[in-house]
Subunit: 419 residues, 2 copies
């Protein structure tokens, strides 16, 4: 199979032409599990909020007209006919010349249209002396004054933060329709890969990418399903891909560490469905041995074995697809400006992503220092990478002390720089 | 019970004096569940990475000295004695004058110290013609060259992003010790509160705060445990608090909506342990009827009933405690500068938090418009609040078109403004 490298932009174009990421589905979840999920439709209030006229004070509920002319020195006497409590349907009706005791939040009973605050009344047995006049609606929160029945309270696509969860509760929803989390099959390849926790015999190394990728999938709103280590052997690989494609929405494979995918993967992929392999090698550093296939409208990303490369390619190609498949707008990249600690060189003819560590220097400038990349620092890179800066194909180098834009791998880096 | 309002700063001081939030505990979790958790200790690599000398190319492994003088036109012949594969202990030993085939990632066999890349060799049966000289260590990644055994790879307090999860896998950990998520009891109070999904009889309103607060607790790394609606009655309230304090690390109560806590809560709290109620009313708007107690070193936050007030007080007083109890540094506030759409007035003598909606105007300025607060717009406020700006006790007002700092309630607001 002939490998023709394509540029990063071309790879993105090819992917976009062959696959349009769409939400994978919808599901009803209980409100208690709705946090951070995404609404599939506008939410319209099925009721007025508040659902009834409520008193906003403790006092006596009246017909406003009955208090006309009342003053501090010249009260008007009303007959006390009962009490209205919070959470209860009123059992009294306020007729002309009468009043009922009421507390904050309780419903205004039939016949009444205003409330006199308790401080402006004097009670004597069954008589209440009202020392102020109140107009119609005074100290009353009208039904529907906050939200009217039929009003749209939340929009399709809203991320359910604590505020939105509160709004859903307010309109009485115990369940809510949200986008399904896309299921993502992850498997590792390579005879040298051993699961962490198992003994490491000679020649073996621990499986890194399956765990790092599972976390990255969760971070984008996907549901990682780890399917184990598959050997570089046609039959096993075919079985693994078939199973993954039948049960999940996206498939991601990668080597255990620092070994590029063998040629078996693209060959197998091309037998499984159309259009098959669409990208086979990208002019990028790191991450050249990246294969992308679309099989019956499901994307398969075969990522490089080097873990820092795998996470970078994930960030550039997989993240956006997963966001959209989860019904979510992609968060724009979190970036900071930083000065380079040294001259940075690209890999000739390839767009080069220089992984950097960020620190503030004495004058509070953010300094970006490249971390050792390539085969010799796989884990060091992983541990120290705060983000990356890009050297375009056309650039010769980036000068020392130049200001560059650094895209961050995680918000915690941003927060710690801002502290 | 006498209510003496304290200022926001004083309330924070009193809380800090009476309660120092500390991580509530540690637990071992499988690596597959470690994403976004917090490390309790430095992680030291128990092994060299790579654990053995590895070939970085496909080719023939040799004693470098054997290739001395080899050139393109003058190859040196070595005897082929076997092959080393990835993931296997080598079954050959390279003696003087011999070589073994090797693939990328495979261990360098005993006796060999370098690798000749396949492109610079010609193979004829059991003889390999080497057309370049390689020096000792060439094309070999030395054991420990990435990470040395005993090296600290991650620091205590690190948030486990996909990168850190990868590092843990690389050093072979299948489980990792992380801080426990603090358990937070949440209950609502009030006779008028009905759970969403249930029928809403007259005089009742839906329970909003329990759901909004549960989501807010989850957002800060806590584990919300909803304990239902408790009536404003001494015995029920005492039982509920005792149960909550016995089984969780923090207790949060609030009214269902827009009804302040009755006086029963502070009285009950004072009977349950020392020091009891430490803050009983704060000179803040909204959120005045906030009660804070410490019972046997566990904090109890009794929040106002109005849901927007509840979430604001949560943000100002509870969030920080939960972060620390979860073993996590508090994320600094996410803020933007915005111009005010109108003159903003404070509530006299109280620090006033004006809830605002943020939008960009035609000239791309971010404009902060106050959303209707108070009793008349509880849910509207909840639905539209992007963040808040603060008017200090000493300020008379904030002028229209003035630039103010707005603290955001959620990162999604930041992202949508930056799009």
């Amino acid at each position: 199979m002939f490998r023709k490298l394509v540029s990063v932009d071309e790879a993105k174009r090819i992917l976009a032409k062959n696959f349009t990421p769409k939400p994978v589905g919808k599901e009803l979840v209980p409100l208690s599990e709705a946090y951070n999920r995404i609404l599939t439709r506008d939410v319209v209030s099925p009721l007025d909020i508040p659902p009834f006229n409520r008193s906003t004070v403790d006092g006596y509920t009246v017909k406003g007209a009955d208090t006309f002319g009342a003053e501090e020195t010249r009260p008007i006497a009303l007959k006390l006919i009962g009490k209205v409590d919070v959470g209860e349907a009123p059992r009294v009706k306020v007729e002309k010349g009468t009043t009922a005791e009421i507390v904050t939040g309780a419903p205004i009973p039939e016949g009444a249209d205003a409330v006199v605050i308790v401080e402006n009344t004097v009670r004597k047995d069954k008589t209440v002396l009202v020392h102020e006049s109140v107009s119609l609606g005074e100290n009353v929160m009208k039904a529907g004054s906050d939200i009217r029945k039929g009003e749209t309270v939340l929009k399709k696509g809203a991320i359910l933060s604590p505020h939105e969860v509160g709004v859903l509760a307010a309109v009485g929803l115990s369940k809510v329709e949200v986008y399904k989390r896309p299921k993502v099959a992850i498997f590792s390849t390579g005879a040298e890969v051993v699961e962490p926790g198992k003994p490491l015999r000679e020649g073996k190394i621990f499986n890194i990418n399956a765990y790092a990728l599972s976390a990255a999938v969760a971070e984008c709103g996907g549901q990682p399903l780890y399917m184990g280590v598959v050997q570089d052997e046609t039959e096993q690989m075919t079985t693994a891909f078939k199973k993954a494609l039948n049960t999940t929405d996206v498939v991601i494979t990668s080597g255990g560490v620092s070994v590029g995918p063998t040629d078996i993967i693209p060959k197998v992929l091309d037998t499984l469905g159309k259009p098959g392999v669409i990208v086979y090698g990208i002019a990028i550093r790191p991450g050249k041995p990246t294969t992308i296939a679309i099989i019956n409208n499901k994307p398969v990303f075969s990522l490089p074995g080097h873990p820092a490369s795998t996470l970078l390619i994930f960030h550039l190609f997989v993240r956006s697809a997963l966001f959209h498949m989860a019904g979510r707008k992609e968060d724009p990249p979190l970036t900071v400006n930083a000065v380079t600690s040294e001259r940075l060189f690209p890999s000739r003819g390839r767009r080069t992503y220089v992984t950097v560590t960020l620190k503030r220097d004495k004058s509070r400038r953010i300094v970006a220092s490249p971390v050792p990349a390539g085969l010799y620092g796989a884990i060091t890179t992983l541990a120290k990478a705060d983000g990356f800066t890009v050297i375009h194909e056309s650039q010769q180098f980036i000068e020392k002390s130049q200001i560059v834009k650094v895209e961050l791998f995680k918000p915690s880096v941003y927060y710690s720089l801002m502290r």
